[in-house]
Structures are given as structure tokens and as C-alpha cells.
Symmetry: C2
Subunit: 481 residues, 2 copies
């Protein structure tokens, strides 16, 4: 329900006045270090004041902070201190601060409040921030809070929650500056003058036809530098990127990056403009999605340092158990060669080296492949070429490492041992290189997230092949008599 | 040398006209799949045309693409095809396409050109894109190309190259819309009308004092919605984020994210406005920096799938050699227990399980910690609390895995073996959990990049401790007689 124009939200609690004179140049103030983190001395000061129960001191210390920094502070202290802190700075706890909080910390804080209180906060937020506030809560809590919302907010929130998580429909802003296509630049400026609303920043004006379909966009700097008499349709950019309301957030983020967008129109199935996404939302998504790989590859789950213990345990342990499975498979291979090891215990000493380096080589290749798949740089069109390239890199790496360990083993044990371990190393690293590319691709083809599923399989392949190649070659070469 | 106003670049080669009518709604065109990648059939069509030497067909196929997509296409084909493609589409090879190319691919293409040709392309780019074009080239090539530049461009490029890589000074745009503070909104609009330049997008106007220091910013939507008579100093935002010219790109990206910025002023040591950074540059940096961890953690280096073989080899092999070192340390521990293994070969079968799971647990924790350090969520203020939390998660994980493997080992081997492996598992996972947090923190305290250096040390600790705990307990418990 987007009408051309701007929608007003009522604000019930004092928002920090935007034109208040505040210290500029955030870097060199006494509360932040050179990497823009709150200084430990400052945080300790706040903690001491909390311990003394000195609410006034706490308030005075926190008052000059930007909402994002207040959120940081709430995240740094432990849960007990957090409750005290929150109660000491009630009117600094604006909706801005709440919107900036880490998801887990915010969840805990919201759970401690009554539904009416949460609804009050939600009312002051933009729809997308309100939805973010509510979406991870218990379903019953969620229903209770939504029931307390004003009808307009309620409708917007429910409409957003109707879309799946992490899609454009869930994340978009419903406040869009949209104007009909017959206007001139002058008409538009007059309209903006009359209906000016400083609460909702916008960077572009969307031009729509009678059926509410976006036909072009006008960047604000174009509007400002074009004579009033010019028709919008003559100055607008027709080459536009439309985001379907069901598009996944990662795809949206990639589009924004690729086409260097500041904002983009979100359209429903029939092509009607229903909202917009702006680059500051995307920035958050990009960081999240790009940083996910390292966490997913190792099975660290959410990987948020603020994740509660129970959740961190349950997401990580399942991957450790999966790895237990692959380790047992590798051990079964060792058991198969048990007699050989009994005869030559040096095999037990050296075999973990082959498996370990192979595992590392596989992980390297996998990290590169997963990232390339995620950024659309590894596709069916260049798979063969990339595979061949990765194999050559693997052979070069394998050769180098094989020579080093081969010489060491030959000197410490026997020349034949040197040959065996060198050969096993080359084989394992080559296999690791291929597996590191192919396994993620297979999962991608099966529509599974490569970052999540590949690690277990690549490790299984490199461990098993490492032991098998080394022990097998040792037996085959007659080392064990 | 930024004067209030806008600077014009001369364009020597045809740029794609911006108001050309182009197909909108990029998603559902016949060349892209639903994830906005070029369809394999389309790419094959281009390749077939290249093979047939049919330059006209190639041109017709490529002509409708957005510059970013043309860059994608150049990246997908192999180096031979790329040369043919480039020669078939010479006037589509705008500076926009060159700016969008992957670094490695662009380097190869630029090396194939004469300095004068590269200089021509560089002239049409914004300074920051021109610098990106030149910065990775051979120093001699670089000098030759710079010598061919127009004096103004030459000065700008040399000034940018004077700053270290990946700093604000290197990456900033020198085109800034800056106006003196005594103007009114009306004055500003008139000024923009006269000096309007559609070539350089801007989203904010910076207000400077007589000493060229930024005193505030005016968002364009505020300018459009404020009456003409109002003074800029009354409507501008004084609360501004200033980026020092020496700030590292990762810090800049974090600031943009934290304070939800669209653009920010870059200032030199004396506080003078020298340029600006905008969020579309940041988006690229964020993706790069956030995605780096997985690659760095595994020693995959640049981790760019387009990296030439020689570079991929040299960055990855050094990590494999480092891992060879840690594997040898672990093997030395096994050798120490050689006699025990000779007596009970089951030890050789089971010991890799303990080391492997410990390694995974360590990697999980490390991935989380590295990310948290990079996003300023793990600082001295909450280290102790986080460490204690990670230890508890590790003990829970260790306990779970220990019970599973302990029961299996007790059934397959002997009850005492079950106890030994279970105990070793708990010890190793606990150690892994602590190491996964402490090692990155130590490196961060030593001003080294935790993502790069931690992996080797965490692996060494978990492998060594895994073998030592298991084999040591096995001997101590009398399993080996």
C-alpha cells in the first residue's frame, strides 16, 4: 500500500534531535581507540559506576554516545550489568539503539519486557527494523506484541512476515518516494517542498506509470542540476534494476555490488512497486553473507560471538559428530593396514603428515571455490578451465611438499620411505585439489549451500585418501616385508 | 586540490549514453539465469561465434550487455578467447568495463597493451579507478603509462599512489561537492543548476569553512525539501564522520556499516577536506574484507579464482610448508610413543580421531573469534567473559563427542580404551576451544592479522595435544602393559 508521497510515523519517545550540536570527528574522542572501538578504560568506568549503583554517573558517561556505540556498550557488558545499564539510561534507549543491537542481545532484552513495551519500541522503528526486532522471537510472544501494535504498523509487519526470511519482501523498506510519470522536474521539487519529511531519507525518486509499475528512477543530484521545465521522463534513468519481492538477500546484495546501486525498486509478481531496498541495508547483508563462509565451512553455525551457549553448542556439535563419522571412516582404513603398522611403526609416525597436508590443501581450494561460487565467478561456463588450473596448482604444491618431506623421510628412515611418502603426498594433494573444487560444485548443483556441506566430504576424501595412498604404497613397495 | 565545484573529465572514447533506452528488469532477460549469472547457453553462443571468427555476431551478442556483464563475460572465457573477444568489441570496451574487471584479468589485458593505450583508458576513469588500474602493474610499466597521462590526471594519480595501498587516501574520490558555509539553500541550488555535471554522482554536499575544514554535510533530500531562504548552517548535519586519509580500508568499511553512512569526508592531517568515500566503494571493500577470512585462515592467499597459477602456487605452498612443520612436530610426539604403538596397534588406528576432531573444534572457534575481532565485537572489554563462554561450549561439545567415541571404542576394543579416548577427546577439545580464541587475540595484540597467522598455531596445538593426551593416557593407564 504505497502511495506516492511520504508516510509519517508518530514518535512516542524522544528521538535524539538530529541537528543537536554533537562532537564531530569521532575518531579522536576520548572514548574510542584508533580502531573506533570503545576504550577498555571507558567501559571499565561505566562498569564501576554500575557496580556502585550510581545511575547518574552511568547516564552522564553514556549520554554523549552515538546510538550505535550505545548498542556496542550493551553488547560488551554481561547480562546482569546489561539490565542495570538499561534501567539507568531509559530515555537514551531509543529505537535507534535497539535497531543497532546484535540480534542475540536484542532478543534477550526484548524477552525481558512486557509485550506493550516491545510494541511501543516497534512502533517507532521503520517497518524493516520492527520486523527484524520481532522475527526471531517466540511465536506466542510475537503474536502478543503484534496484537498491541497500531493497525497500520500491524498490517505492515504482518505483510512483511508473510514473506520468507532473508528475502527482499521481508527486508525492504515500504517508504518509497514514487511519483507519476507526467511531472516535470519543477513539479517534483514543489511536491517535495510541500510534503518534505526529514524522517525518511531517500536517495532516488521512482517514477511510476498508471499501473504503479516503475518506469525509471531520478537520482537526486540530477533533479538538483536539471532545469525545472524538463519532463521527468526525459531525465530519468530507464535502465533500472528491479528486485523481485521473493529474491534472496544474498542475490540482492550481489546485484547491488555488481551494478553499483544506491537503491533499487522492489516489485511484486505483477510488476507493481511495493518497496525499495537501499545500500545501507545491503552493506549489512554483504558483511554477513561474505563473512559466513569461514564460519559455515568449519561448522561454526551462526558464528556470532554473542550467541547463547545452548545454540552455539547445538550447531557446532552436529558438525563435530559428522566429522567423527568421517574420522572413523579414515580409521577403518588404517585398521585395514594394521598388520603393516605392527611391522613398521614408522608408518604410524608419518601417516598423519600426509593426511594433514592433504586436508589443508583441500581446505584452501575449497575456501577459494566456495567464495567463487558465492560471488558468481565460478559457473558452468568456466568449470573445466578452473578445474584444470586448480589441478596444476595442486600438482605444483604437491611436488614441492613431496620433495621436502621425501628428503627428510629418506634421511631419517630409508630412501624407499622417502619415495613412498613423496608419492603419497603428491597423490593426496592432487586429489584434495580436485575435491576442493568438485565437492562444492556438486552441492551447488543440488541446490545446497556449498559452504555448509562441503567441508565434511572434502575432509573425508583427503583423510581417507591420505592414509590409503601412504599405507598402500608402503605395503606395495615391500617396505613392510 | 579540491575546489568547490565540479571537475570535468574529457572523454575520448564513446561512453555508453546514459539515457539510451535499454531493456529494464535485468532478471528475466534471456541472457541471465535467475541468479543473475550469464547463462551457459549464451556464453557458449559467444564462444561459438568467436571460434567461427564471426566478429559481427560476437558484437551483436555482446552489445546489449551492461558493462559489468561484459566484464563477467571477459572473465569467464579463457585467455585466447579473451583476446579475440576484446578485438571484436573494441568500442564496447569502455572504461566502465575495464573498471569492472577482476583485478587479475585486467592486469593481463593491460599488459598486452601499449602504454599509450592504457593511458587513454586511464584518462577516462575516475582517479580511484585509474589508480586501481595502475597500482598492481609492474613498476616500469606503471611509470611508462603515467608518463603518457595528461598533467592533471598524472598529478592526481601520483598523489594517490603516494598513499599506502588499501588506505582512504589511495581509494578516495577526489571529486567532492563542497560549498562555503555562508550560503543559503537557494544559493546552493542555483550554484548546482549552473555547474551541474551529470558525470559525477554525488549524494551529499559538504560544507566547508574558510580553512577548507568540513563543518557539516547536507543530504540532497534535505536540500530538496527545505525552503530556499534557510541557511545551510541551519539545516546541515554537524554530527559528521571524518575519515583520516591514512585510515585502513577495513576500518573505513566498519565505520560506514556502523554509522549507516552513504558518503564521508576524507581529511588530511590538518583537517582539510581532500576527498570523499562513498558507500559503493565500501560495498566492494566489505565483501572483500569479510570474505577474506576463510581464505586467509586456510592460507589460500588472494583466493581469487582468477589468480594466475604462479601466484596461487606461491601463496598457498608457503602455508602448506608451514603446516608441514607443525605436522612434523606432531609426528615427533607420536615417535616418542613408538614403543607403545608397537605393542598396541589399535592406538595408531584411533589416535587420528582425537587429533582430527580437536582440529575441527579449534577451527570452528577460531573462525568465530577471527570474525568477532574483525568486526570489533571481541575486544579487551569482553575477552574474559567470551573465553569462559567458549570454554563451556567446548566442554559441552567435548563431552558429547567423548561419550559417543568412548562407547564405540569400549565396544570395539576394551572398556579402558573407551575411557582413555573419551578423556583425551575432552582434554583436546577444551584446549582447542581456548586456543581458538587466545591465539587470534595474541596476534591481534601483536598487530598481526589474526586470520593469517592463527591457523598454523591452532593446528599445531590441537594436533600435538591430541596425540599427546591420547597416547600419554594410554600408556599411563597401563593399556600397553
Amino acid at each position: 500500500m504505497v502511495e506516492p508521497g511520504i508516510h509519517d510515523d508518530e514518535t512516542l519517545v524522544a528521538d535524539a534531535a538530529e541537528d543537536e550540536v554533537r562532537p564531530d570527528d569521532r575518531i579522536d574522542d576520548e572514548r574510542h581507540d584508533e580502531e573506533n572501538r570503545l576504550k577498555p578504560e571507558y567501559v571499565r568506568g561505566v562498569r564501576d559506576a554500575l557496580e556502585d549503583g550510581d545511575k547518574t554517573a552511568v547516564y552522564d558517561l553514556v549520554e554523549p554516545l552515538h546510538p550505535a556505540d550505545i548498542a556496542d556498550l550493551l553488547e560488551l557488558v554481561d547480562s546482569e550489568e546489561r539490565e542495570q545499564l538499561a534501567s539507568a539510561i531509559t530515555d537514551l534507549m531509543t529505537s535507534e539503539v535497539v535497531a543497532e543491537l546484535n540480534d542475540h542481545v536484542r532478543e534477550v532484552m526484548m524477552e525481558a519486557l512486557e509485550p506493550e513495551a516491545v510494541a511501543t519500541i516497534a512502533e517507532q522503528l521503520e517497518t524493516d527494523d520492527a520486523v527484524q526486532l520481532l522475527e526471531d522471537l517466540d511465536e506466542d510472544d510475537q503474536k502478543a506484541i503484534i496484537a498491541e501494535l497500531e493497525p497500520e504498523t500491524q498490517a505492515a509487519v504482518e505483510s512483511a512476515l508473510a514473506y520468507p526470511e532473508e528475502t527482499a519482501g521481508r527486508l525492504m523498506s515500504r517508504h518509497v518516494m514514487a511519483v507519476p510519470e507526467h511531472l516535470t522536474v519543477g513539479d517534483l521539487i514543489d511536491f517535495l517542498r510541500e510534503n518534505g519529511d526529514l524522517e525518511h531519507d531517500f536517495h532516488e525518486v521512482f517514477v511510476i506509470d498508471a499501473a504503479h509499475h516503475p518506469v525509471g528512477t531520478c537520482a537526486l543530484n540530477w533533479i538538483l542540476t536539471t532545469p525545472r521545465s524538463v519532463k521527468l521522463t526525459d531525465v530519468m534513468k530507464r535502465d533500472q534494476t528491479l528486485i523481485p519481492v521473493t529474491m534472496d538477500q544474498e542475490e540482492v546484495a550481489l546485484m547491488f555490488q555488481k551494478y553499483a546501486l544506491i537503491s533499487a525498486a522492489v516489485v511484486d509478481d505483477s510488476g507493481r512497486l511495493v518497496g525499495q531496498m537501499t545500500v545501507d541495508d545491503i552493506v549489512h547483508i554483504i558483511s554477513e553473507e561474505a563473512g559466513e563462509d569461514a564460519l559455515l565451512l568449519s561448522g561454526a553455525g551462526d558464528g556470532d560471538i554473542n550467541e547463547p551457549i545452548k545454540e552455539a553448542y547445538s550447531s557446532r556439535v552436529r558438525w563435530l559428530i559428522a566429522n567423527l563419522g568421517t574420522a572413523v571412516v579414515a580409521s577403518a582404513i588404517i585398521a585395514f593396514f594394521g598388520a603393516a603398522i605392527e611391522k613398521l611403526v614408522a608408518l604410524a609416525v608419518l601417516m598423519p603428515i600426509v593426511a594433514s597436508i592433504g586436508g589443508n590443501a583441500g581446505t584452501q581450494t575449497m575456501a577459494v571455490a566456495v567464495r567463487a561460487i558465492a560471488t558468481n565467478q565460478l559457473t558452468r561456463s568456466n568449470t573445466r578451465r578452473i578445474l584444470w588450473k586448480e589441478l596444476r596448482v595442486a600438482l605444483l604444491n604437491g611436488g614441492t611438499v613431496a620433495v621436502l618431506i621425501g628428503i627428510a623421510a629418506a634421511l631419517l628412515f630409508s630412501p624407499m620411505m622417502g619415495v613412498v611418502i613423496a608419492a603419497a603426498m603428491i597423490i593426496n594433494i592432487a586429489v584434495a585439489g580436485l575435491a576442493g573444487v568438485l565437492v562444492p560444485l556438486v552441492f551447488e548443483r543440488l541446490n545446497q549451500d556449498p559452504a555448509v556441506a562441503s567441508s565434511v566430504f572434502v575432509t573425508m576424501i583427503t583423510d581417507s585418501m591420505g592414509f590409503f595412498a601412504f599405507l598402500g604404497l608402503a605395503v606395495a613397495s615391500g617396505l613392510t616385508g
